[in-house]
């Protein structure tokens, strides 16, 4: 495997700078919470949270691809690791969040008082 003996130091520091920058942006947004972003929704989620999730996935991609060196692996290994996780996590989130939202509705509309 040719990638093994090449030094990647430059790329490592680049990714570190990138991850730090993204984290800084997240923290700044987390402290100020701009009302424009938090007040507007897109598909049931406010824009600020959309940004947080997208930046998180962006960081996750760089950690897996650069730090865990997924980019240097065979595509068969790559897909056999990444695709089950993505599929199962989306499936799990879909089921649990739908159910959670449904139960919220049940509590809200029920004749039984729970929040007192």
């Amino acid at each position: 495997m040719s990638h093994e003996h090449v030094s990647n130091t430059k790329r490592i520091w680049f990714v570190f700078a990138l991850l730090s920058a993204v984290t800084t942006v997240e923290v700044i947004l987390g402290i100020y919470k701009p009302a424009v972003l938090e007040g507007n929704h897109f598909v049931g989620l406010n824009l600020l949270n959309w940004i947080f999730y997208i930046l998180t996935l962006y960081k996750a991609y760089y950690i897996v691809w650069a730090f865990m060196h997924m980019e240097g692996e065979k595509s068969s290994l790559r897909w056999s690791v990444v695709s089950p996780v993505i599929f199962l996590v989306l499936y799990l989130l879909f089921i649990l969040l739908t159910e959670g939202h449904y139960i919220y509705g049940v509590f809200k509309d029920s004749t039984i008082k729970w929040n007192f």
Partner: protein, 331 residues
């Protein structure tokens, strides 16, 4: 069995099917580390999805993170949301960088460099675990205190400006006190199930009555112009609500916490605890590999692949933190 045996003549990269055919192009150990990570990732996803479930269920009453995590070392009484956890995140990212530098040095068979970077990674990991312990300490200790009603709702205290007020600022000391039951002061089988709070409900109620400027803040989240806040009751409503108080809550435990929803503290302890346990075990594994590097085990093997494998685990721990950070502190 040949595939599972790690030998000095670098048979590590082979599998039973022969040297030239490698479907996944990775050694047995590395491949298994990847699939362990897959299963561990799904475990964490299960926890985080369960957190999401509970949060969606109580979406209108969930605690606001920037009111809970406000501490920073040496800044007493200063509300500094996010800063501390941001610092922890940077520490963990940086220890990931030193780890990947160790792996990189291993590819070039530079023993001293690998050892130095491994050492820095271990230090980073220890600082992170220590920081998490400090975070837990603040979370468990609490800051303001609150009361819980008979219905299980949490009531917090604010002044006219909406600023939180701690129990000790207004609660009175009433003469009649029940001493806590302990085995040394009562019949041997009698013991209080919980530690007694500093004040009784009656003391908090009497103090509230004596301070007409105080109001009750409920768990209900209000959104006005894109800003989230908690609903504050009027003085009359506050008095009615406080009359139903049943427990004084200080800090957090697995049963109740002063921040709001009971599940919030449960998930916080469970998920950050499970992550902290991963960091801790990662540090232990790193220490073992560090000593192997020092002893020259991998030098003799002419392969630092073990460093790469623990590196995978270490980066995974960092990866999980990225998600925990978002889900608990940002969203």
């Amino acid at each position: 069995m040949e595939a599972t045996v790690t030998t000095a003549n670098n048979n590590e990269k082979t599998w039973g099917g022969g040297d030239d055919i490698q479907p996944l192009g990775a050694s047995y150990g590395k491949m298994m580390m990847w699939f362990f990570i897959v299963s561990d990732a799904l475990t964490f996803s299960g926890f985080l999805a369960a957190y999401g479930f509970s949060r969606f269920k109580f979406i209108e009453t969930w605690p606001l993170a920037d009111e809970v995590f406000t501490h920073f070392p040496f800044l007493h009484g200063v509300s500094a949301p996010m800063y501390y956890v941001a610092l922890m995140t940077f520490i963990l990212i940086f220890s990931s960088v030193t780890m990947v530098l160790a792996v990189d040095a291993g590819h070039q068979l530079k023993k001293t460099k690998v050892a130095i970077y491994m050492f820095l990674t271990i230090i980073g990991g220890l600082i992170f675990v220590g920081s998490q312990a400090w975070e837990w300490k603040n979370f468990i200790k609490g800051e303001y205190g609150a009361v819980e009603t008979a219905g299980g709702s949490l009531l917090q205290f604010v002044d006219a400006k909406g600023e939180r007020v701690a129990l000790e600022k207004f609660a009175v000391k009433l003469p009649e006190q029940r001493e806590a039951l302990t085995r040394s002061h009562s019949t041997w089988f009698m013991e209080d199930a919980e530690t007694q709070a500093s004040y009784t409900v009656a003391e908090v109620q009497a103090g509230f009555k004596a301070h007409p400027e105080l109001l009750i803040r409920t768990e209900q989240i209000l959104i006005e112009n894109g800003k989230k806040s908690k609903k504050v009751l009027t003085r009359a409503e506050s008095e009615t609500r406080l009359a139903t108080a049943k427990y004084v809550v200080e800090g957090a435990n697995l049963t109740r916490n002063e921040y709001g929803s009971k599940l919030f503290a449960d998930f916080f302890f469970f998920i950050t605890g499970f992550h902290g346990f991963h960091v801790f075990s990662g540090v232990i594994i790193n220490i073992i590999i560090f000593f192997n590097v020092l002893l020259g085990t991998y030098e003799k093997r002419r392969s630092y692949e073990m460093v790469e494998k623990v590196g995978l685990y270490w980066h995974f721990v960092d990866l999980v933190w990225v998600f925990v950070f978002t889900v608990f502190y940002l969203v």
